[in-house]
Subunit: 490 residues, 2 copies
Amino acid sequence: MPESWVNLAERIGSDLYLELSGPGSRRAVLIRALRDAVREGLLAPGTRLPPYRSLAADLGLARNTVADAYAELVAEGWLTARQGSGTRVAEGAAPPPRARKPKPAPVPPIPHPHNLRQGVPEAASFPRTAWLAAARRSLGAAPDEVFGPGDPRGRIELRRALTDYLTRVRGVRVDPERIVVCSGFAHALRLLFDGSRGAGGAGGATLHGPFAVESYGLRFHTDILEGSGVRTVPLDLDEQGALVEQLAEEPRLRGVLLTPAHQFPTGGPLHPARRAAVIDWARTSDGLVVEDDYDGEFRYDRVPVGAVQGLDPERVVYLGSVSKSPSPAVRVGWMVLPVRLVDSVLAAKGTRESSVSVLDQLTLADFITSGQYDRHIRRMRQRYRLRRDRLVTALAEQAPHIAATGVAAGLHAVLRLPPGTEASAVKAASWQGIALDGLAGFRHPRASMPARDGLVIGYSTPAEHAYGAAVEALLRALPPSTADSPTSRP
Amino acid sequence: MPESWVNLAERIGSDLYLELSGPGSRRAVLIRALRDAVREGLLAPGTRLPPYRSLAADLGLARNTVADAYAELVAEGWLTARQGSGTRVAEGAAPPPRARKPKPAPVPPIPHPHNLRQGVPEAASFPRTAWLAAARRSLGAAPDEVFGPGDPRGRIELRRALTDYLTRVRGVRVDPERIVVCSGFAHALRLLFDGSRGAGGAGGATLHGPFAVESYGLRFHTDILEGSGVRTVPLDLDEQGALVEQLAEEPRLRGVLLTPAHQFPTGGPLHPARRAAVIDWARTSDGLVVEDDYDGEFRYDRVPVGAVQGLDPERVVYLGSVSKSPSPAVRVGWMVLPVRLVDSVLAAKGTRESSVSVLDQLTLADFITSGQYDRHIRRMRQRYRLRRDRLVTALAEQAPHIAATGVAAGLHAVLRLPPGTEASAVKAASWQGIALDGLAGFRHPRASMPARDGLVIGYSTPAEHAYGAAVEALLRALPPSTADSPTSRP
């Protein structure tokens, strides 16, 4: 049992004395040192501490300082004090027997120097200066109430800016009252479908039942639906987009999730007749269309195709975000909702939680209204178009047997491959140091349409200086034209 | 049928001509005007449009411009083009019959000039200059990869800064690998308990079953648990906090949600023996302690009571956020997790979603490491302490029969009232123009302990200049000392 400072100091084995002579509250330093000593097992449970008077004298501290430190550690449960028995290390304060080392985060198995995975904008192109200027302006102009509890629908400044922008650029029929700001597409899906688990009001009931999705799409979207107890039903795709006439074949369908402006990942807009047909279906069967407008602004051949939502805002939930522009680091997305769904989405969101950084919301509102958002999109559209052109030209020159599809819009292309060759092409790309995905990873597990073979090339992903090398590596990885025949498969 | 520009212009009835002569793409302006005309019913379904050559001549536009506009509107489904029949307004493009006006957001029934609702820091005290400086520094220093897809655990810079801070100030046993950054307390609860619905891995299984909560607490926390299918079991409270010995009476309990540093809302820290006891219970029954450290830094009488998590980090989930300091407008919170729960929480969070603004995360990391966070808390602690003192002094002088409890820490006090007088006191306060809550709104619906009557006074909420008037109004609203007898009830 340590009865003097010397013993205690030996057990603590730290530079407590040095710390005590430095700046800062001596009481706080002493508390920390004693707590650490107990934690690390240097002071075993049951160990009696020296009387506070002795320790104070040994350390040259005021008695109150040590007494306070003991009292605090008793209050925290590290020490116990009992009349006649002195102050001891508490029994419960022993370090837990099985302190496991945390697992490090999973890392990709092979580091790939060339990243052609789809889905992210060029990180280096983030408009730091313009964004910071917008942050400074909006933070300076914000009324104090901004820093209080937020409106769960999102700041009115942002909802007004989005109303103007989406009307002008995407043909959305919108007013601020039907916008709910969220942290991104996945959050939006959760808000929509969490309401379907009964607790959420009217909208929940509307969405209770199976939901159609495209046979190729982002698997994590269907995972979110299935995780919310919603069975997903895959629609076949052809060159004109999803075969929406199949909706009528499944009588209990509650809705359909579509990428009308640019089918993800195969490319191409939904055919006009099908745009009208899906709205007709929604009207006659009381269904809901969820429109994922993930890269609607990035169209290279003509004016972007407007949103399907414009055809009937009471039948379509329109979803967008800043993930493609300017960056997924800004966690802001938006839902344009049929009026009947606003309340249930807000109920799912929680009235106490604004969820999304209010500072980012104000900054984005300023970024849009000041014209910086349009400017950034124009700049990036020009840059991505050049990248697309480089890819298409290089393929035409050096691999003319490979067709690049879905290139009229977006941030990615699909290189079509002969049936059965995709897996080996992905492997060959990996050997060339390229990270990319084949179409197989986007296929719905219950899709019945014939599988397509292809590589999904995210040409926005690499840094500008790295793009040329990535395309060259890709060309080396592609199967030679003799591979067209299935007999060349291993 | 409008066959000429004059007819069409009449039907559109807009200043299309003026717009066309201004800057911007004439094609885009024409598309928008035609789309609006169809939407608003000015051009009825089936209406035939003038041949594009005539319209181009009438408007002084290139033929291609008008042809492109028609083609775009056909692609969007507003118009149909058939050989021999010309271009017509599509049938599906009719405005929906029941365009309902969105409901405005609910507003509080009476506007209260004095806001003494608990839960929010003084909005005007947000450190705008220091925050913006931290944003500028961190945005300037950030590597490009910051703007790519984020780590779902949160930025390492923030997890390191939190590790240092929570170790130093709250006695938390933490390393960056067991921190998951989230958007706030409600998000943290959802991440924990969403995992319990089966789909989420190991942690889900651990939390499957009833969960104990304090008999008084924030109702929206228990609502989140119940919404996730978790039955909540209320623990009685006394002056030493929750009666954790009741945990043993419910054999299937999976865990307990506590506010150990400062019981919310009744005030007071959990007694040291109970801190040790709850850890003992968790160890012997394989239970989980969820520690809500919502205002742990704001203690006025002595060094803050350290976190219970420090006693056994494998048994406690420690939750904190910036909602009390600097502001709920910054949507950043943190979970310090037992190692075995990290993976299931990340699975519930979604590997594709960082959820929380990366820019805010970097700014907060800089704000902490540069010492601004400590400085802000010191400043606010001083300011809130003065407010608390004003309230306590005013009560002692003018309403000595009303005891203010739970005032040693936090941002709120509880004014105890004689049994049965709370509802009329809340009503009296409302008549004095004060927004505040009685204890009844925090009581668990299945609580079995005797009800307490009291007013919860959030003294951090008003602006500095408005605080004095709010306290004066409160004093006018309090029941006179003769109201001690229950016979004075109406």
